[in-house]
């Protein structure tokens, strides 16, 4: 199997089958949606709020851009309700760069997501950075042709989002703080939990797998798949607080497939060299000399000062439905 297609057999309204000539053409299939996420691997996805930033990101080697109205750091400062970005801004960016465009919608906000899909973005991020619109439900993502990325703090959360149809997972971290500590916690926790499932799978201990599936509130099918693969069945990126090239390299070493950088780049005072440096450090994450070279490209005095994650007024990672 080239990429994992588990969980399978869900009713997929977002999958469009058509007969063109004498051949069958399928859009929005699980393979095409997850395949898109696989193409982002080993890359850096950058948060941008306007065309100028999107162009800087593309030139620096970003694999995609994530459009939002305010960077997470500014969302914290502004308070109030954070919603999806302006459609005009998204369209302008779609016309200005050739790399994929992603955009954030509020957790559970089906119509905001449908609007982004109709607008033509390449991937939708159902994000805790924006104010959740539904405290009970996440979006049922199988109804979309456009793939989704969701945040997760641990394995259970990641698997529940996958069962709802997410095509990509990212750690939640604590966005807009400039502090990677929470992202590190989340990926370490996931890795630890995956190890337990893998061990149960290798021992053929079905009782243990069922118990773990119950604990995570997911199907046996998806728990078995994690045990078999020894990793998440879909691409898993790091996100939340990444600021320097060394941060990116660290999270790649912990087993992430790529990184999202939010406020870290465009809230610093050296965005374009920093963007390039983070891309280099992500590609060459296991080459210490290259990471050092990348780190030389940024000035620590120009980094986002950051916030202490222990005394925050708003912990974004804890927002939204708990199940």
């Amino acid at each position: 199997m080239a990429i994992s297609l588990i969980p399978a057999n869900r009713k997929m309204k977002g999958q469009k089958v058509s007969i063109e000539g004498d051949i069958k053409v399928v859009r929005g299939s699980i393979l095409v949606k997850r395949g898109f996420a696989h193409m982002q691997k080993h890359g850096v996805i950058m948060d941008v709020t306007n065309v100028e930033q999107a162009q800087i990101a593309e030139e620096a080697g970003a694999v995609a851009v994530m459009v939002l109205d305010k960077l997470p750091y500014d969302v914290r400062k502004a308070g109030g309700v954070a919603r999806t970005a302006g459609v005009k801004t998204i369209e302008e960016i779609m016309h200005a760069v050739s790399i994929p465009i992603m955009a954030k919608c509020r957790i559970g906000h089906y119509s905001e997501a449908k609007m982004l899909e109709t607008c033509g973005v390449d991937m939708i991020d159902e994000s805790e950075v924006l104010t959740p619109a539904d405290e009970e439900n996440h979006i049922w993502k199988w109804e979309f042709t456009t793939p989704f990325v969701n945040g997760a703090k641990d394995l259970g959360e990641a698997l529940r989002r996958i069962e709802e149809g997410a095509s990509m997972i990212r750690t939640k971290g604590e966005p807009g703080t400039g502090n990677v500590a929470e992202a590190v916690n989340h990926i370490r926790k996931m890795n630890k939990e995956i190890r337990v499932l893998k061990a149960a799978y290798l021992d053929n201990d079905y009782q243990e797998i069922i118990k773990l599936a119950r604990e995570y509130m997911v199907s046996m099918e998806v728990a078995m798949e994690v045990g078999r693969l020894g990793r998440l069945p879909i691409v898993n990126f790091a996100a939340g607080g990444i600021t320097t090239p060394a941060d990116a390299s660290f999270l790649m070493k912990l087993g992430c497939d790529g990184v999202f950088v939010g406020s870290g780049i465009f809230k610093s005072e050296d965005p374009s060299s920093r963007a390039k440096a983070v891309v280099l450090a992500t590609t060459f994450y296991d080459n210490e000399k290259e990471v050092l070279e990348a780190q030389k490209m940024v000035d620590e005095k120009k980094s986002l000062v950051g916030l202490d994650t222990k005394n925050l007024d708003l912990r974004m990672q804890e927002r939204g439905p708990s199940v």
Binding site: V26, R27, F36, V63, S98, G120
Partner: protein, 213 residues
Amino acid sequence: MTPFLKVGILSIQGDIEENSNAIKESFEVLEIEGTIIHIKDFHDLDEIDGLVIPGGESTVMGMLLFFQGVQTDLIKKKIQEGLPILGTCAGLIMLSNKAYDKTIGETKQSLLKVLDVTIERNAFGRQQESFESELDIPYLGERRFNGVFIRGPAITEIGNNVEIIAEYDKKIVAVRQNNILGTSFHPELANDNRFHTNLVKLMVEYNRSKKRT
């Protein structure tokens, strides 16, 4: 006796592991011993018997290759001398002479320019238009091949020595120019390794001819 193959995979960005799995499975099918070398720059090219450029973002791969001031002349020379190479999607764009995009015109991106074709990037549209479809590819045999197109490019012009391998909706989506194979779709995602197996066969020949000279 079959040689021990060393297959390079350009490991800058994209679906590197999926290509490496497809190559490993091809080794098994052909009962060949071999290993995968992840290449991030072009220093240790002499060792390899073939190269795969995976899918991903061509702008990123180009930027990172040329940013480092890597000797791309070296790889070009190798390919012209017969090093078998497969480029899928972004890899195809990297190999091409020229690439353009409907919305932003000819792209300024850096290319290797070894395959005599012109590419239209995202020719089938954005991600929503990405699709999978069964293709007739005589080069691979009678059984149809599941083409997985993800924001895929199309080939709009080809040189005299370029052979068309597959078409979809009157657009050229796979070509061969001697030792160079290029596809708009992702054979590494298709769960069908015939493209990679053919590439490995070319590598066996290349390895033998290398030893003779």
